[in-house]
């Protein structure tokens, strides 16, 4: 089995875009190749595209060959699309990793993104009912995720004493981290007071507890170690462990709403494969679709004890100079969340952190982690990256 490296990454501008899906994919591809002049579209032998709502919002299937055509890539090993809603991007990276590791492919681009803003605003609320078990949870009007995460937050507050201030501190931190990210949807800081008094969305979640809807795309390039040595002069960043776990899809089959069992399973496997533990993670990008998510992720990734997620943010342990700086590029709360793009955005930030060139650098970062959740907390995806193989 071969070692696999991430050698380049770039994003389009994320936000409410006056641009089509194919526009943002082109922007992301160009930025990705621009990130590393040592690799060109002629070096790429495979392409995996991650997008969830391409049929619904852009009426476009067979997306990967389209992206290949637009980016001047002529794939020979793989050219297809993957979908796992909010974790589509990370799924693409895991698949590309497997193909490169096993020798099926040598140099693979993983590009992910969405065009979600359409003229009828109700369309996206309606489309989101496809994200759950449509015939059962969707039939209840569950679609956009705030109600589910609101009920998770209420239970976590009751069980563990987590407070609204704990939630607010997550959004204040992530909005501060997004300040230096020119590609982020939101680049203005918010005060604790603003976060505490923002307009209600679904109680107890208020405006800044929720990530926005976003247009945008991102791309990374993975290469086998041997090729990577010739295709980049930057420090090599290795994928060391991956996992994707799911225990249920419909709400009726969720084992526990405040302890995410599938996340614990995924984390355990990814740590084991990477030969590290949670104490070894220097920097992490976790799925902060809502502030409560990040708090539960601290716990179930093992950064702190179960129930201590609120104290972890309060003590600054997830901030710079804390135990594990989390969402150093602003996370979903700042950058936004074009579903297929998010896992790739996280990979780009970890690559830059481990190469020592992030906008907000964690000094001496050697081991990094990304985490996506998808659906109604139904699947969890964890990847561990390192400076060493």
């Amino acid at each position: 089995m071969r070692n696999v490296c991430v050698i380049a990454g770039g994003m389009s501008q994320w936000g409410v875009r006056e641009a089509s899906q194919r526009d943002v994919f082109q922007e992301a591809g160009k930025t990705c190749f621009g990130d590393n002049p040592g690799v060109s579209n002629k070096d790429v032998d495979g392409l995996i595209v991650a997008s969830a709502y391409t049929e619904r919002c852009s009426f476009q299937t067979h997306l990967a060959p389209l992206v290949a055509e637009y980016l001047g890539i002529k794939p020979q090993s793989i050219c297809c699309r993957v979908e796992l809603l909010c974790a589509s991007g990370s799924s693409g990276i895991i698949l590309a990793y497997g193909l490169v590791r096993s020798g099926v492919a040598d140099v693979v681009m993983v590009a992910g993104g969405e065009k979600l803003y359409v003229p009828e605003k109700w369309e996206i609320f309606y489309s989101e009912m496809a994200s759950v078990d449509h015939d059962f949870d969707g039939a209840q009007g569950l679609g956009l995720p705030p109600p589910v995460f609101a009920m998770v937050a209420k239970q976590h507050m009751k069980q563990f004493g987590t407070t609204k201030e704990h939630l607010a501190l997550v959004s204040v931190k992530n909005r501060r981290n997004g300040l230096n990210n020119p590609k982020a949807q939101f680049r203005e800081p918010i005060t604790l007071e603003a976060a505490m008094t923002a307009k209600p969305i679904v109680p107890p979640l208020t405006l800044y507890d929720c990530c926005p809807i976003t247009d945008g795309a991102a791309a990374v390039i993975l290469a086998c170690e041997e090729k990577a040595k010739h295709l980049t002069d930057k420090p090599l960043v290795y994928i060391r462990g991956t996992a994707q776990a799911t225990l249920n899809n419909m709400s009726a089959n969720m084992p526990d709403w405040t302890t995410w069992e599938a996340l614990k399973i995924a984390a355990k496997k990814a740590y084991k494969e990477a030969r590290v533990g949670p104490q070894d993670i220097d920097v992490a990008q976790t799925h902060d679709c809502f502030t409560i998510s990040e708090i539960i992720e601290y716990e179930d990734l093992g950064f702190c004890e179960k129930g201590a997620g609120g104290a972890f943010i309060q003590e600054g342990q997830s901030d710079f100079r804390g135990k594990v700086p989390v969402n150093t590029d602003g996370g979903l709360l700042s950058c936004g969340h074009p579903f297929g793009g998010t896992g790739i955005r996280q990979a780009i930030e970890i690559m830059k952190q481990l190469q020592g060139r992030a906008a907000r650098q964690v000094e001496g970062a050697e081991v990094g982690l990304t985490h996506n959740l998808s659906g109604f907390i139904a699947a969890h995806t964890v990847l561990v990256y390192g400076r060493q193989p």
């Binding site: 109700w122 609320f125 309606y126 989101e128 009912m129 078990d133 015939d135 059962f136 949870d137 039939a139 209840q140 009007g141 569950l142 679609g143 956009l144 705030p146 109600p147 589910v148 609101a150 009920m151 209420k154 239970q155 209600p200 969305i201 679904v202 109680p203 419909m250 709400s251 009726a252 089959n253 969720m254 709403w257």
Partner: protein, 132 residues
């Protein structure tokens, strides 16, 4: 598909591409027929005994097709409730009241609460899969 009564008149205006509750489109249509009778049901495997929800055509444990319909409780305890004001999808009224309910320890699930405002007593409320 001309000639299907369930598609007459209205269906072109809805967003689902086929009606879930129709026997022409869904092998678990008895679930919806039972709902009309006020029964909340699911399938149980006659071979291994596993009861699944949502209902199936194949047992997810032993893969048997030998399934039967069984009744689930129609009374449940609300574990947590919240009201959605922003982002309510087309076809649902504001506020959309969501709850995590416990059906006698047998099943927990999300449902919507109708005919009852948050804070009102249980006398008037009704949950889930209503036939309205």
């Amino acid at each position: 598909m001309p000639g299907l009564k369930i598609l007459e008149g209205r269906y072109i205006a809805t967003m689902d591409l086929y009606p879930q509750e129709a026997k022409e489109f869904n092998r678990i249509y008895p679930f919806y027929e039972f709902l009309k009778e006020g029964r909340f049901t699911t399938t149980r495997c006659k071979d291994c005994g596993l009861q699944s929800f949502p209902p199936r055509v194949i047992c997810p444990n032993c893969l048997s097709e030998n399934l039967e319909w069984v009744d689930l409780p129609t009374r449940a305890k609300v574990k947590v409730v919240t009201e959605e004001e922003v982002g309510v999808p087309l076809g649902f009224e504001k506020p959309l009241i969501h709850a995590l309910i416990d059906l006698g320890g047998k099943l927990t699930m999300f449902t919507r609460i109708v005919n009852c405002k948050v804070g009102q007593g249980p006398a008037t409320w009704k949950w889930g899969f209503s036939d309205c």
